[in-house]
Assembly symmetry: D2
């Protein structure tokens, strides 16, 4: 059995990691840590874990975690992960980081996260954990930069069109709608129920920290630089991201033509589905699937993708990466 440690176990993604790994046949979770008043059973922090995991969650002690883990998940805020990842790598532990710390070059990182990167070596070795693009590299990786939730929903939705070169690269728009767990489990007035419920807003238009990650990956797929217009919106629901992408087609294509591209691109992917009609959030919530629907209006392709932001957008994809790294069945633990 592969021994697992989770650092940052008391957030929403931590909860999901424990839930998934506790049903995984090839691993055992032996170490849970977080900033916590006193050692507490994780099933008391999250009673929904009853019968699944009773391990005690305690303050982080790197040495202890190393003793109990072959592989460590870091479910930490950005700028924090890069302080711990090197310590685990040094002890020959494989690391899957769910923060943004290893997704961007140091220079870009500093621009968008307002902090000098503290682990350039790690950054050089890190693999961007999007299996649909980097499966080969993930197999051999010791450090995974697990993708952001918005980027996962947008990159998978845009990849086939930019890769095939059938759309204008200077004219890509991503209008995304996210549930509230995307903001994490923290106390802030804009997140309290009576401010979010019966409300709806756009925020950080074209200044959201996920933007460079999106443009970077779609640029790589296109083989040349491109810049996506990205508008995130906050929706009064707990889970899920729906992204609506707008592309300008270079030549006339039907929805059927486009669907064909998508089916070809993803035909061997266990967690990408092309919808017959349009996908809905409730079709993917509590699953690791990204579901994509395609349509055409005049010379525009309109692509809609849905994911569960805590699963394919975070914990689920992290475990998918672990499965690839460690030679497990890729879907192990991910279909409940």
């Amino acid at each position: 059995m592969l021994k697992i440690g989770i650092v940052g176990a008391t957030g929403y993604t931590g909860e999901e990691l424990v839930k998934i790994l506790s049903r995984h046949s090839g691993v055992e979770v032996l170490s849970l840590s977080a900033i916590i008043d006193k050692p507490t059973k994780i099933s008391e922090v999250f009673p929904s874990l009853a019968g699944k995991c009773d391990i005690i969650c305690k303050e982080l002690d790197i040495e202890e975690v190393c003793g109990l883990s072959d592989l460590v998940f870091l479910a930490l805020p950005h700028t924090v992960s890069m302080q711990f990842a090197p310590k685990f790598l040094k002890e020959k532990k494989r690391v899957i980081d769910l923060s943004a710390d290893y997704r961007l070059p140091a220079k870009v990182y500093k621009e968008w996260y307002a902090k000098e990167h503290m682990d350039k070596a790690g950054l050089d070795s890190a693999v961007y954990g999007l299996p649909e693009v980097y499966r080969k590299d993930i197999k051999k990786a010791d450090l995974i930069a697990n993708p952001g939730c918005y980027p996962t929903s947008i990159i998978l939705a845009g990849l086939p069109l930019v890769k095939e070169g059938v759309v204008e690269l200077d004219d890509i728009i991503a209008d995304s709608k996210s549930g509230v767990t995307g903001a994490g489990r923290k106390a802030a007035i804009p997140l309290i129920f009576s401010e979010v419920n019966e409300n709806l807003k756009a925020y950080k238009i074209d200044t959201h920290q996920h933007k460079p990650e999106i443009s970077q990956e779609l640029s790589k797929a296109a083989g040349k630089g491109l810049d996506v217009v990205f508008t995130p919106h906050l929706i009064p629901m707990n889970r899920g991201i729906l992204s609506t992408l707008y592309f300008k087609l270079k030549k006339k294509m039907t929805a059927k033509d486009i669907a064909k591209l998508y089916k070809r691109q993803y035909k061997n992917e266990p967690f990408v589905k092309i919808s017959k009609g349009l996908p809905q959030i409730k079709d993917v919530v509590n699953t690791n699937y990204c579901e994509i629907g395609v349509s055409v209006s005049g010379n525009r392709a309109i692509i809609v993708s849905c994911i569960d932001n805590l699963l394919k957008g975070a914990a689920g994809q992290a475990v998918q990466n672990m499965n690839i790294m460690c030679g497990f069945k890729e879907a192990e633990g991910l279909i409940s």
Copy 2:
């Protein structure tokens, strides 16, 4: 006192009409009709109207309504309004129709509503009731085609840019998010709570019946034909529409430059506000305001507008039109 009749009083827009008109100093609501089992006090149909209106709502009797009304609001489904409007006009009643029946030329109407238009004469005389554009004509009108909720939110958000000719007309995208009351008060599985709550979807991409209305009005503002890409989304909240519009700028402009255009265009408008930052639905719910926020990303202008779909998007705008037609203060009854 102006005598008012409301036909279709038991829907959500009917409820709002009664609420607004009951606080209006210059009118008295004397007739309420709807498809209803037996004559019933409207304050029993909608207990929230207690203390505001106790009139009895009964089955439609055109003669009776005419006897009790100088002006009639039709809060009816499309294809139904055009059967009744002519009868009221014939009796010299002024009519404000909240359906889509008088918003489009007969030919376009038939394409999108799959029905031959039954009142071409009315259609010729009808004025599109968007005060920010047609105030002069509204003053003299006998028949008002009250705009749709999506179109109101999109046309007001797009007008200044297309009118000033600073954006490409072949590259306009409107991504709209609507609360559930927009679908009306009808029994259908896709509308039940457990299907809509914790869910989110795009629907009728580029085939929504409000699309021609949007393109028609923005074309008029531009002085030449244009076609908007329109994607509606259903959001788990009761009220409100947030539309996010994407335009390609012909020449470099800052958000400040654009805000200036908007402030100039709407400087005398009592119900359009330009936000300092970005508007939110909760800022406009239960008000007749359209609030607009502007931003720029590269060569794109991104405009966000918020309205209450039942007020500025329906009943509130209808009363604003009545106020203009009848010489009342334009905001009378509309600021509670």
Copy 3:
């Protein structure tokens, strides 16, 4: 025009006070204060107040407030109000306190709010602002202790039965369900959307600080001491309290008999309604009404009451008290 000051204007009840008073024909709001970074238009703090009030909200300066006010509303947390009320009373300002500070005898207050009372004189002179019981005293009062939201919903629902002596006094149960605004506008993890939405819980069973207030007022009505069993629950909605009360009848009574008692008790009350069937929250939200439904099961009376916790449960009732104190029409400003 009566000059009004509001202290604590940036909370939910402050927002509602401004909304109501801005439509009141006999008053003008001249002073708004709160703990706030810099002087800010209240219509920027709450854009929903656009067109209603543009006064600037600033840090509290008691002298300044006194100069601008004949009557002051205190929308402050308990234990804070009692520090300011005496200062306003000393300057001959009438005070309506929305906190719990003047609702209980000093001894009981200390037990339940864990703080020595700091204004015994004020406490002696304060009148409990429940118009349905204390209208006469309210007329002459200088200091009003505005009732809590739970107590208003429970006292009005229980009063007729205990007053008439038809129920056992040692067997009264109040099971209350409240929306989230009842907890105020503060940052705390248990209040964030993703913790409250799709969730439901009972809390502070029989230890909630509103319990003594409820028992005290029903005891007065009964003419002898009684103790209510009170269980509050948190519901995933913004506004409203529904309380379900259970009483044991001393002798057989029908729902009709009981309804008669309630109608007699409240026949002259402008803001209490006896439902034909059972009341719902949506019937009273955004109104100042308390709606009550009565039913019988065997030897038990089951009474259901609904209020808007921010209106009849707070700001609306406070203005109703002001109207009584100052000789305005009791409903002035309260029916929008």
Copy 4:
């Protein structure tokens, strides 16, 4: 492998049955039927089942179902199940009925469901499927009457106190709050989002069809007849029932004393948990647990229980019964 058929597969409980059984190691679902336009993959009816079950759902053909099933789940409306159950029993299939048709004596059934019972023989042989009470009988049963959602939450919460004889039997109150899926997946105006959201109501006070089932089972536990006062409420959330029960204690007991009774009663139960504090819906949603919290106020015990109405309140409990009937591990398939 045990062969399974599900009749009524397109409702919410049908969806949950497929989800649970598809992860069960000892069964294979071979037949799905429902009232459906044309044969359709269940994973198209419920895309959330992708990767779990791809069987085609078709119109009911009893012979075909019998050919493909050893055990049949009936997820049908009451009055419908009793028309089909005998046909499956006749073919020696074991049947688990999720409707109310086999829970009550014919006479009581007729009173509450307004229909003459059509399968008295089945009724005589049926076992009430509450494992915590009837495990022994369930083992040997061919027909299970799976308990209602409200009854499960109330009976489990009340059982220890009435069984131990420590409470007055003429003074039991159950105030229950249910999510909307409890009403099933049907089109009706009172169930549409804009009527339920931001609303809350009590309904069918003491006339709800689950009342006799609750009183019957608690009477059996008490060893003498008792009648529970039962008030259901509709809550704006998808899933979960929280019941708050009020009992009068015969003699003084502390919460600790009571907790001891509950722990003893349920010490070997895999799916009943006694909370340290008070349970919340989010602790049990998507699980088969019933979580119970106990407290005391004066001479009253106040018991709060939480379940997922679609799992422990329906499909989960049905599979728990199947596991007992067929000798599987009782939790098999039920901990995801």
